[in-house]
């Protein structure tokens, strides 16, 4: 870890000029964040705490929300406001479509969305030092999202997301645990960082 710390301090200073940051970042965009989040040795000897269904659902709901965010950011961010209809190949496999409307108020720093996400075996994976933030899942289903996305200060995210039929399979947490939720109903709200969901008839709350 020591070596990486030295390297990061170097990059950070070099990046301050703004000019070189593009060079550095273009080549090593994700290295800095990864260096703070990936420690292969972390938690090896601690032994995993017990994780029952609720525990796994928390990571499952997180995975759904962050896969939606991935689809959104891959397709819509930075695009002109208005009617949306876009498709994207998910980085780990599968496809996703997103359509609906999105409008922004740049002065307030908000984007209002009324979007439908349709995932076709859209695969996504996260690894994190926190076991409950790690997963490797495949999402299938149609989810409707409506509300406000906070983009600037002084605003807060407020979203409602619903689906009649969502399938989420794969592995959650570290060490990986099998997870399978098929053809489940989903009702999920996000208020700031707090995510509350009813998924497969089970209520789950998680802080993003």
């Amino acid at each position: 870890m020591h070596a990486r710390t030295m390297r990061l301090s170097g990059w950070r200073t070099a990046c301050r000029g703004g000019a070189l940051s593009a060079v550095v970042l273009g080549l090593y965009l994700v290295v800095p964040t990864s260096c703070t989040s990936t420690d292969p040795a972390a938690g090896v000897d601690a032994g995993p705490p017990p994780c029952e269904q609720e525990c796994k659902d928390e990571t499952g709901v997180r995975a759904i929300r962050e896969t939606m965010k991935l689809i959104y950011n891959l397709t819509l961010q930075g695009k002109p406001v208005g009617e949306q209809n876009a498709a994207v190949a998910c980085p780990k496999g599968g496809k996703a479509y997103i359509f609906g409307t999105a409008t922004s108020n740049a002065d307030q720093g908000t984007t209002e969305v009324k979007l439908t996400y349709e995932a076709e075996a859209c695969a996504y994976e996260q690894r994190d030092d926190d076991a409950d933030e790690s997963y490797n899942v495949v999402l299938t289903g149609k989810i409707v999202q409506e509300g406000t996305l906070a983009v600037q200060p002084s605003t807060s995210t407020a979203l409602v997301m619903k689906s009649e039929n969502v399938t989420l399979t794969g592995m959650v947490r570290l060490p990986a645990l099998d997870y399978r939720a098929e053809a489940c109903k989903l009702e999920m709200t996000q208020n700031g960082n707090k995510l509350t969901a009813t998924f497969c008839g089970r209520t789950v709350g998680v802080d993003l």
Partner: protein, 858 residues
């Protein structure tokens, strides 16, 4: 070859330690070559079409190239074909000395060798008043008489007073070998004992347009004398006028305001994805294989396209007629090249390469750092007939920069890149009028960073290249090429934040296609005027999007006098969106934002001061449109929130604000322009851990800017292989960008860039050289505490070189070279750090490369 800048800076120590070894060189100045030289016009096998032997002017020998005559150093071999012995002049009389001698071309349609003797009357002003062949031998005698009249001499004198003199000279014509199968280089006849046996000296690094005028050139022998280049012809590009470094020692340049990603690298028409090894490494091609390197900073010939900045084009050395080889040994890498003919000279095989063993060296002072690189080249040729040659050329390169982490077996990959090319060629000579090359290329490019993230580009391409002389005044050059690139992008176990997602969408897996066709005509309506109109068309296709670029080009060369020429070039160039610097397999897809465009124009003067001294002065102006130039997308900003950004401390749900790594410190949010959809930044975890540095940089990758650059370039060179030689290269320029209706000075604009070098022959086969590099600092953000300071501090460094050479027998040699880039250990500032009390420059380095090495050849 050296540590990357961030390492250097983080350690804040001298990055020196990398001893490079350099190699010896081949002394050019004392060799008379019968080696063909590049054609001035590109067609007629110009090589050594003529040799000149003024029988009354001892000390003048045939030039090694077909460009005319050059004074031979003392002891040079007598010119082939010269039969007349110099007659002793009367007491007090000094015979005329040749000053300039334009090309004497081999006559169109002629056959065989010929020697023409002429009686020449040299006037008091040095011009040739009469040139009369002693006997008629058309068409040789006509061509000789016509061309000799354009020669210029230092007039003969009697007791110091100029007089009219009559002398006798001979012009030796040799029938040029067939050009399409490139002529094999004939070795010089055995040299007198004590002279360095040298073979390959014809590596020219040319500035500006070779076609429109070789306004600045360096031979390979000269390149070896330039401290800081380590004998690498490609690295010598950095001393050329118009070339602005990003950071001292790094081989990435702005060329007339165009960013490094817009500069294309070619070797024999084959595109090379990356030209230099990681960091400040050497080029990926062994120097012995390189015959010449041309720099085209703008208005380049039609055969170069799909780059809107500049072109660095290398040309491979032709096969020799007998086995030869070179090696070099440095502290951290070893390189070698060997070639031998077979089948009675109809075929040849060459292999070369370099292997780095930096691990042992790095273990001494940076045990956690891993830096490896290697490259290889191979070539086989076979002449099916005197007019037909088949050949295959293979080349590849590998780089790895990583770090070992305690407790982890696998090293952390910081950056890895490799590429491989296999090029099959068929060359055909079209009588004496031209040549045709057809080639087929397979290749693979790979790059990788940490966490199993990598890109791969598998490509297949084909190209044709033709030159055909329609008439003595008209040379047609045409060609076409096509290429398919299949990109495969793997994100591994990625935490894809908004910026990562955006970046991924810019570089997706896909297949791209390009198709190009071009033609130009070299028109020489008079010996004093050459004009080259040309045009090329390129089709780009990626992810369902297509774009077409039509690029007209025009270049002229007007000879005002025997010493002065006026050079002009203009052209349009298109390029698909590009990444910041060349990285194998890392190319934006989808042609988002359309093609980049550049309008390039220049006007220059070329002045031959003496036979070994030239001066060029060039004015240029480039306009850039829809540039994908991340380095220039933002005006200099203090390390706080730039316009359009916002403090992020209170952003709801954004747990990543204010922390993490990456540039920028995490205090500012991304731009949120009116009318666009904002980013979903909610939540923590990988996706939420966005930093302003990331978002700004990705934003910079997306935006398009306009720009322009203009300035003046001055290049003065006295042949570096002279007893005392050197050059003076100076660029005065300004480069600007316009984004969102705001024009500002470009991020890497440097008003003054100066390179001055001197090389000395110390005698007894010792040579020494020194080079001074100076350039203005880059623009900085306004500092409220010092509003008059608009730039970071300037940079200045001195490079040194010392060489001792031994000749072993008649054909072998050995050299020890000590070289030191940045011997002054100067640190360089490319950023500033601002606080409430004001801003201070932050420094990196010093980036320095001391080197000692051994080189030999046979």
């Amino acid at each position: 070859m050296t540590l990357p800048i961030p390492f250097a800076e983080s350690r804040a120590t001298v990055v020196g330690a990398l001893a490079l070894l350099v190699v010896a060189w081949l002394l050019a100045s004392r060799v008379a070559l019968a080696q063909p030289a590049p054609s001035g016009s590109g067609v007629a096998p110009a090589p050594s079409a003529s040799g000149l032997a003024p029988t009354s002017a001892p000390g003048v020998a045939p030039a090694p190239s077909g460009s005319g005559v050059a004074p031979a150093p003392s002891g040079s071999a007598p010119p082939a074909g010269s039969s007349a012995a110099p007659s002793a002049p009367p007491p007090g009389v000094v015979v005329p000395k040749l000053v300039t001698a334009p090309d004497v071309p081999y006559p169109e349609g002629a056959k065989g060798d010929a020697t023409v003797a002429l009686t020449v009357v040299v006037a008091k002003d040095g011009t040739v008043r009469e040139a009369t062949p002693t006997e008629e031998n058309k068409p040789f005698s006509d061509v000789a008489a016509e061309k000799v009249k354009t020669f210029v001499y230092e007039p003969a004198t009697r007791n110091g007073v100029p007089i009219v003199a009559k002398i006798r000279i001979e012009i030796v014509f040799r029938e040029p070998p067939p050009p399409p199968p490139p002529p094999r280089v004939a070795l010089a006849p055995p040299l007198p004992k004590g002279l360095p046996p040298m073979v390959i000296e014809q590596v020219d690094v040319r500035g500006l347009r070779a076609e429109a005028g070789r306004t600045a050139s360096l031979s390979r022998a000269e390149v070896r004398q330039v401290p800081g280049t380590f004998g690498d012809p490609f690295r010598a590009v950095e001393i050329m006028p118009g070339v602005t470094p990003i950071v001292s020692g790094l081989p990435y340049f702005f060329i007339r305001g165009a960013p490094p990603g817009n500069v294309g690298y070619f070797l024999d028409g084959l595109r090379v994805p990356v030209l230099f090894h990681v960091g400040a490494g050497p080029s990926v091609i062994h120097p012995a294989l390189v015959k010449q390197v041309d720099l085209y900073p703008g208005g380049y010939p039609a055969r170069f396209g799909r780059f809107a900045g500049g072109i660095v084009a290398g040309e491979m050395q032709d096969p020799l007629e007998r086995p030869h080889g070179e090696f070099n040994l440095r502290l951290f890498d070893v390189g070698a090249f060997a070639e031998t003919p077979f089948a009675d000279g109809r075929g040849s095989v060459a292999v070369g390469g370099r292997y780095s063993y930096t691990g042992a060296l790095f273990s001494l002072f940076s045990p956690s750092t891993i830096l490896d690189y290697w490259d290889y080249q191979g070539r086989a040729t076979f002449d099916l007939t005197p007019d037909d040659r088949i050949s295959v050329f293979a080349m590849g390169s590998y780089d790895f920069l990583g770090q070992t982490i305690e407790g982890v077996d696998e090293p952390l990959t910081l950056f890895g890149a490799e590429f491989h090319r296999l090029d099959f060629r068929y060359d055909h000579r079209i009588g004496n009028r031209g040549r045709l090359r057809s080639a087929f290329t397979l290749g693979i490019d790979k790059s990788r960073i940490s966490q199993e993230r990598n890109t791969r580009d598998r490509l297949i391409g084909t190209r044709t290249d033709m030159e055909y002389r329609l008439s003595p005044e008209m040379l047609l050059r045409a060609g076409s090429d096509a290429q398919i690139d299949s990109y495969d992008v793997q994100t591994g176990q990625a935490d894809l934040g908004p910026s990562g997602s955006t970046l991924l969408s810019l570089f997706p897996s896909r297949a791209d296609f390009v198709l190009g066709a071009r033609a130009d005509v070299v028109l020489t309506p008079s010996p004093r005027f050459e004009v080259v109109p040309g045009i090329r068309a390129d089709l780009f296709a990626s992810q369902g999007a297509t774009a077409v670029g039509i690029d007209p080009r025009l270049a002229t060369r007007t000879k005002v006098s025997d010493r002065v020429s006026v050079l002009a070039a203009a052209g349009l160039a298109h390029q698909a969106p590009a990444f910041v610097v060349p990285v194998p397999g890392f190319t934006p897809g989808g042609i988002r934002g359309g093609l980049q465009k550049a309008v390039q124009q220049s006007l220059g003067l070329e002045l031959a001061v003496m036979t070994d001294t030239t001066v060029t002065a060039t004015l240029f102006h480039n306009g850039f449109f829809d540039m994908s130039d991340p380095l220039g997308a933002t005006a200099p900003q203090p390390p706080s929130c730039p316009p359009g950004a916002f403090p992020r401390g209170t952003l709801a749900g954004d747990r990543g604000a204010g922390g993490g790594g990456g540039g920028g410190g995490g205090t500012c949010g991304a731009r949120f322009p009116q009318g666009t959809i904002g980013t979903d930044r909610s939540g923590g975890g990988g996706q939420g851990s966005e930093t302003s540095g990331n978002s700004l940089a990705v934003s910079a990758l997306e935006v398009r800017t306009r720009g322009r650059s203009y300035g003046m370039e001055l290049f003065l060179k006295k042949r570096l292989t002279s007893r005392v030689g050197g050059f003076f290269s100076y660029t005065l320029s300004r480069s600007t960008r316009t984004f969102e209706n705001r024009e500002y000075t470009a991020t890497f604009d440097r008003t003054h860039v100066l390179n001055v070098a001197l090389a000395f022959d110390l005698g007894r086969n010792w040579r020494a050289g020194t080079r001074v590099v100076f350039y203005t600092g880059v623009p900085q953000a306004t500092d409220p505490s010092a509003p008059s300071t608009s730039r970071l501090p300037a940079f200045f460094r001195v490079d040194l070189r010392l060489e001792k050479r031994w000749n072993i027998g008649k054909t072998a040699w050995l050299s020890v070279v000590a070289e030191w880039l940045n011997a002054t250990l100067t640190k360089e500032s490319i950023a500033q750090n601002c606080t409430l009390a004001g801003c201070t420059a932050t420094y990196i380095g010093p980036v320095t490369i001391p080197s000692i090495g051994l080189e030999g050849g046979i």
